[in-house]
């Protein structure tokens, strides 16, 4: 049969069409974002300039941190990652703070690649990272975005708005646009409540991961300061007040950053303490008062919850308190 015989030509064409149809079928079955169109890309997985800028700092086994407390957040998030993962954190100051945590999973070291982790388990991965951040930083009042990418695609994103539960965006190829508002936000002032000697503040605690209440204190000269805390929650569940050097969050107030109260007090001070404590007890309030000899400088007075291990929350989670500087 001649090679250009009509039958052979038709047969060859049908075979070619069949071959190409099989190739076309192999590219079917993607998720909606993966439907092979730039329109899909534009609305779906197109990477924003802000995200690309932060991605540029992703380097295996390294933390990149940009913005206030970003290094601390990166260090905390690193606890939930494999050693070879890349991590970049950007914090935009303001009320609320915007925190974006980018993670690129390593493809070596015996750890699973992102693509090998089912979508259902990716949310657990996100939970672990968010929990690690909250344990150290308590970002419940911040805008928080955590995104995990593999070699090419983002496959898991968690976004949490202040005081809200986590929103998960997980899949083979997902839109990163949910991170854009966090990445493109303009830095703003952070109005931290202040306390002065002789003043008092009242408030209510909120459960983890909401941050512990913190008050800025500025001393222009060294002096003795009494920090008095009363609360409607008594006993072991009552809150406690701690003074830290600098303007910090509770998580940043490590032991070496907190001030030690005086142990030896004069009789007049002790009498005053006993009298105030008795009045608080009569009123059904817990009472704590510590006395500090403080140098001039910036300090933070933090009211700590007395967290417990109970599943349904702790009695002191929503305690009302009054903190007073004397």
């Amino acid at each position: 049969m001649r090679l250009d015989h009509p039958h052979l030509r038709r047969l060859s064409t049908v075979a070619a069409l069949g071959f190409f149809a099989i190739l076309g079928a192999a590219t079917a079955g993607g998720e909606e974002d993966e439907e092979g169109a730039t329109a899909s890309a534009a609305s779906g997985e197109q990477t924003s300039a802000g995200l690309q800028a932060l991605e540029a700092h992703l380097a295996a086994r390294e933390n990149y941190a940009e913005g206030p407390d970003a290094a601390m957040i990166a260090e905390a998030a690193r606890e939930a990652l494999a050693p070879g993962d890349a991590l970049a954190v950007r914090v935009v100051p303001g009320v609320p703070r915007k925190i974006v945590v980018l993670v690129r999973y390593a493809s070596s070291g015996g750890y699973e690649n992102l693509r090998d982790i089912p979508s259902s388990e990716r949310n657990e991965e996100l939970d672990r990272i968010v929990a690690a951040i909250d344990d150290a930083y308590e970002a419940g009042a911040d805008e928080l975005g955590v995104a995990i990418r593999g070699a090419v695609f983002y496959g898991a994103i968690a976004v949490r708005h202040p005081s809200q539960p986590i929103e998960y965006h997980t899949g083979a190829v997902i839109s990163t646009s949910v991170l854009d508002p966090l990445l493109t936000a303009e830095p703003g002032p952070e109005a931290r409540p202040t306390l002065e000697v002789g003043s008092r503040a009242e408030g209510t605690l909120a459960p983890h991961p909401m941050p512990q209440p913190a008050y800025a204190l500025t001393l222009s000269e060294a002096r003795r300061v009494r920090v008095r805390l009363t609360s409607n929650v008594t006993g072991d569940d009552s809150p406690i007040a701690i003074v830290c050097r600098g303007t910090v969050r509770a998580g940043s107030c490590a032991e070496d950053a907190s001030l030690e109260p005086l142990e030896e007090l004069d009789d007049a001070t002790m009498d005053d303490l006993e009298r105030a404590g008795g009045e608080a007890e009569e009123a059904g309030l817990s009472f704590q008062e510590d006395v500090y000899d403080m140098p001039a400088g910036q300090f933070t007075v933090i009211v700590f919850r007395n967290d417990c291990e109970a599943e349904g929350g702790c009695p002191g989670d929503r305690a009302s308190y009054t903190v007073q500087l004397l």
């Binding site: 064409t13 069409l17 190409f20 190739l23 993607g30 690309q52």
Partner: protein
């Protein structure tokens, strides 16, 4: 005798006519398919059916290793990832059809090419009309139309097979 000699001489011996045909086919069909396949392997989702086929065929692991390698080259623009593979596929398909049918009568050639058109730009138009699932994009339409036009042109201009031209049917 003449035919067998030519065939024998042509296969793998670098005779100009056969070599040109092979390299032309590789350039216009093989290369686009290879490029498109690499884009799919390296930069598209693993939920695609092809990955399940690869696993079933036992080539999933090397395919993923290739994907990892390709991914290490970094980010590719979205139009490369999403639009180029479709255009390359349409080009290769149309070229093969046009090439095979270049000796056919014009009506029959047009008929076969219309199938390639329907599978390429036609599918995009079908998305616009809402009869084909997917997202219509005018850039995709332009690229697949261009691919179809170019491939029809080059495929139709390919030289006819020497054997068919020069042998006498027995």
């Amino acid at each position: 005798m003449k035919r067998s000699k030519r065939r024998g001489a042509g296969v793998g011996c670098g005779r100009p006519g056969v070599h040109t045909r092979v390299s032309s086919l590789a350039l216009h069909a093989g290369a686009p398919l290879l490029a498109g396949a690499l884009l799919y392997v390296g930069f598209r989702a693993e939920s695609l059916l092809g990955w399940r086929w690869a696993d079933a065929l036992g080539i999933g692991a090397p395919a993923r290793a290739l994907r990892e390698l390709l991914g290490s080259f970094g980010h590719v623009p979205d139009w490369v990832r999403f639009t180029a593979p479709d255009a390359l596929w349409v080009y290769a398909l149309t070229h093969v059809v046009a090439r095979v049918q270049r000796g056919a009568r014009p009506p029959e050639r047009a008929l076969w090419l219309s199938i390639a058109f329907a599978l390429g730009p036609g599918a995009e138009l079908g998305q616009f009309a809402g009869v084909v699932p997917g997202t219509f994009d005018v850039f995709d339409l332009i690229t697949t139309l261009s691919a179809f036009g170019l491939a029809s042109y080059f495929g139709g201009r390919a030289p006819l097979p020497e054997i068919a031209e020069r042998t006498i049917p027995t």
